[in-house]
Subunit: 194 residues, 2 copies
């Protein structure tokens, strides 16, 4: 096996990246400026040194605490997400000016992920500490997301805090005809008076 | 800009890789074993040192000449391709047991790619040297591919060699109804007596 094939195998480990796309990337590197491959290699190699997890919210960051947790002007509302990348998506939507909390997964007993594996206790500790008035559960509308939301919601009953969950329904630009039964059912149950 | 964003920008340079996919890759690296990122970085960094271009055919290789050119049992037929990755695709099809020649592009005057920029002279030199009896032009059925094929074909008229081109027509598993006019026209012109 030569250096091309070895790199193709390494790159195919990325989710959603097949062997063909990986091969295309390697040839792009070979066709291109060696300097680019060099800089890319350095950045990948340094990534884990430069990026740490914020000990408050669990988001990836270069400084501790992360810029979001350090920003005291943020609303005392915590948006609970599954993974760090969800923080980025919600930040870019500019729909929310509160704080975040990364659970680090969803409860999935069949995959061996139990509540104890998630950052649920740190979330509970933050509520009195930061005088949080609302917890928004921004978890995927899947079986695992529903289970986790229900579990966290039960634990939050002992706290003086509103617990909400993102609305689930038809995606904007979507087509009723191609919407699955469950999404349709949720969009009915969550219908809004005009 | 932090280390995540910098790496996202670097990765988005790959063809067909948008910012979202690049971000997904970075988070995959961050979520995963730091050892994997380290090994990946080393392989990318070493790529240009380990892989060179074969001086005979222009294919990427770790040794000079490449294993295909070094294999004297190969038929004295040259398959001419645009890029090194085409060699891989044809080799994997096991449809061809001859030699290869990588042009390094296609004639595209509007993009500033002229015949002089392609490895056409080295191809002409190989024909008497290697006693080649056929040249197969395996170039894409596009305007640039057609132009380049015509140009090379003209030059090859002075040589004792058959010149052929890959058949163009309906893709296997394709649907007549969704086939574009040009492909249909080619599949008519290239029709085969049964």
């Amino acid at each position: 096996m030569n250096a091309i094939d070895r790199l193709v195998i390494l790159l195919s480990k990325f989710p959603g990246l097949g062997k063909k796309s990986a091969r295309r990337m390697v040839y792009y590197l070979l066709d291109g400026d060696p300097q680019y491959a060099q800089v890319l290699a350095e950045h990948i190699g340094d990534l884990h040194q430069e990026i740490i997890r914020c000990t408050v919210c669990g988001n990836f960051t270069e400084q501790e605490p992360c810029p979001i947790c350090a920003d005291t002007s943020r609303d005392p509302i915590i948006c609970v997400v599954e993974r760090a990348q969800d923080v980025q998506v919600i930040e870019e939507s500019r729909e929310f000016r509160g704080r975040f909390h990364v659970l680090g997964g969803l409860i999935a007993p069949l995959e061996g992920i139990n509540p104890g594996d998630l950052a649920i206790n740190p979330l509970l500790n933050r509520i009195p500490q930061e005088h949080i008035r609302e917890v928004i559960l921004a978890l995927n509308p899947t079986v695992e997301g529903d289970t986790t939301a229900l579990y966290v919601q039960q634990l939050l009953k002992g706290y003086q805090v509103d617990v909400t969950r993102l609305a689930s329904g038809l995606p904007v630009g979507g087509d009723l005809e191609y919407t699955d039964r469950l999404t349709l059912s949720r969009s009915f149950r969550g219908r809004i008076r005009l």
